[in-house]
Amino acid sequence: MAAYPILDQKDTRSGFGAGLLELGNRDERVVALCADLIGSLKMDAFAKQFPDRFFQVGIAEANMMGIAAGLTIGGKIPFTGTFANFSTGRVYDQIRQSIAYAGKNVKICASHAGLTLGEDGATHQILEDIGLMRMLPGMTVIVPCDYNQTKQATIAIGAHEGPVYLRFGRPKWPVFIPADLPFEIGKAQRLVEGSDVSIFACGHLVWKALQAAEELAKRNISAEVINVHTIKPLDEEAVLSSVRKTKCVVTCEEHNRYGGLGDAIAQLLARTLPTPQEYVAVNDSFGESGTADQLLKKYGLDTPDVVQAAESAKDRAQIVAIRDNPLHRL
């Protein structure tokens, strides 16, 4: 199959850095702030090229969010950069009041999200951030899946009016999205067409979903893989049209099973099209130290976990089909 060959191995945060630099060249309203993590966020190039438009705020994330909000008032488009944990949980009230409620055009850019942060351990591996940000009225939440898409998303949010949470990560990861594949905020991408099960994924887990689809094909299960890079606003039509066809769902995310992509889709389906759904997500726990690969395996976010979830979802859909068949009610 291999419809998506590995083009390269790159970290998504470098996609952010490249996108930010390009955006800086395109639009002089773009400014950037960082809380003592310039190298980690790959903001060096922007800082060097646009020293007047770059603000090092030190280890003071709350202040950074407030300054970013204030900069919008003079017509600037601020991009804040720090780890996902310090971009959300640490500064939730600042984001809530000064950015979301106040409707400010701040782009909150968060690296090192999820388990794949690795050895630093649970203090830094936030698994709740998608949920936190998704709950804020007016917040757009984007979780791109590879280097190319993170670069595209960074550029796209610069042209989007309103607060955005952009989540990406630390490890080198397969680059598989063609650089010329159009990216549109709020528009999910069907990467693989299938008929037996819908696999919705975001971030690093999109690659795992593609791997799983290949394995499922060998088992005569036709999986549809949809990259839901924008979790809010959710592309409801893309979800529903796939689920109407497959009648079962797997959601994959590097996040707690509460509050993230899985819940966004479950809520949509509960309201409109109740469907058996399996979660590939962290089972309500904190992470720990380890390599990215070890952690994804231990916490059930690896390719075999997606395969197993797809088979379970398909089995459940068959039980529902039998139950709902009028012939069986006789």
Partner: protein, 284 residues
Amino acid sequence: MANSISTVELQRIASQVRRDIVRMVHGCQSGHPGGSLGCTDFLTMLYFDVLRHDAKNFSMDGIGQDLFFLSNGHISPVFYSVLSRSGYLPVEELKTFRKLDSRLQGHPTTHEGLPGVRMASGSLGQGLSVGIGAALAKKLNKDDHLVFTLHGDGELQEGQIWEAAMFAAGKNVDNLIATVDLNGQQIDGPTDQVMPLGDLRAKWVAFGWHVLEMNGNDMDSVRAGFLDAISRTGKGKPVCILMRTEMGMGVDFMMGSHEWHGIPPNDEQLARALSQLPETLGDY
């Protein structure tokens, strides 16, 4: 700073603003009269004789104008009154304060599109950071206007204030004037008892700010303080005004304690308060 309106005229306006405050909190039986009354002279001077602004043509970006951010958003009654009396919104609208479907929310917000408000505030400690951001944008825009912020003294217990204080001095944000309302009171009692603030002058000086003091309930002192503060801008450091005020100033039974921080007067108390505050510009 225009410095063109007489002290007597500003005092007349302040009397009307104080009437508005007690009538607003009485009208909805909620809100924060104490700090509002204490900061009335400051906000009256600011909006009628200091800010270079255009009330009739409000724009969110405020380019080419001085900006003000109310960080202690709970004193919204005085803010709304001064905004209306200086032309940002109809004076009649004050009667909608804290009522359903009003633009005059309990704490100020941009959410309802109220002219004159550029930031939501209420959760304390955030306004200095916002002011810094707006001041940085002015520098980038080559806009030589100033940014003013107001904070409660109790608000200084929030850590974010000191993150911002460090940034503003460390990064030479010298187009920013932050005023601290030193009324010595907060919800649970005197600040000295709840959480002593220590030597605030020494703290702000140590953080690298120009620091000056004024009596926030003496219009001449407020005028002199603003003139002094403005003269210190553009010299590499941010400016802090430590402003002594009396919570509840202008209404005798509301002064001298924290009791009137956040409760409204009843009918009888309203009448007593209004008898001490001459109507000068016409009630809403």
